[in-house]
């Protein structure tokens, strides 16, 4: 069983996403929530880091929509999920690590 990481800070303001990606193991999942969803926008440095990262990357659709980030702005390789998918991820992993 692996770890679910959540990141809730913008990668343009804080280094939490970059540290999370550097410490997550293959087989882990990383979920972008709240201001963390800005890290899912295609064509940014954050998206480049995500593209080469080991874990699977998810982003919460409700937080994207709230911030006016349309689905077609999300970088390839990132899966958009809703709250029920968030719950599934929590149950599928041994522990949750919130990168506050």
């Amino acid at each position: 069983m692996s770890i679910l990481h959540t990141v809730n800070k913008s990668p343009f303001q804080k280094a939490d996403l970059s540290s999370c990606l550097a410490h997550a193991n293959a087989g882990d999942a990383v979920l972008l929530i709240e201001d963390g969803v800005y890290g899912a926008i295609a064509g940014t440095d954050a998206a480049k880091d995500i593209a080469t990262a080991d874990p699977s990357i998810y982003v919460l659709g409700g937080d994207l929509a709230a911030r006016g980030i349309a689905g077609d702005k999300v970088a390839d390789g990132i899966t958009v999920i809703e709250y029920d998918g968030f719950v599934d991820l929590v149950t599928e992993h041994k522990a949750v690590n919130s990168w506050l």
Partner: protein, 137 residues
Amino acid sequence: MSDETIKKFLYMNRKAPYGTIYALEALEVVLIGAAFDQDVSLAFLDDGVFQLTEGQNTDGIGVKNFSPAFRALGDYDVNKLYVEKESLEARGLAESDLMELVWEDEDDDWAEKPSIKIVSRDELKAIMGDQDVIMSF
């Protein structure tokens, strides 16, 4: 408490000590959690490594210097403090800049042993993957 119910708890410290309340609150949680006889480890990475510097003196800023409380952890069987080497180096620090924290091993005639272990990022990744519960501050 039977062995089956002991879980591995990792407290991750990623914030410097006085700019926010996170570091102090994390230490409070660790000390409270120590009463529950779990397998506890602490990780210090990113700015969290600044929590362990030797010689902190807060007289000039009017807040409590809580760094001496780290010395109490050994008495609560909290003796695995993993400090990430890459985070230290990126901040111009070395192990010699950190407090000397020790615990007494009752299985070894109460010999004093170091609590701080410097680990690489890869070693820390493996430690994180081995936990049942992670609390991040």
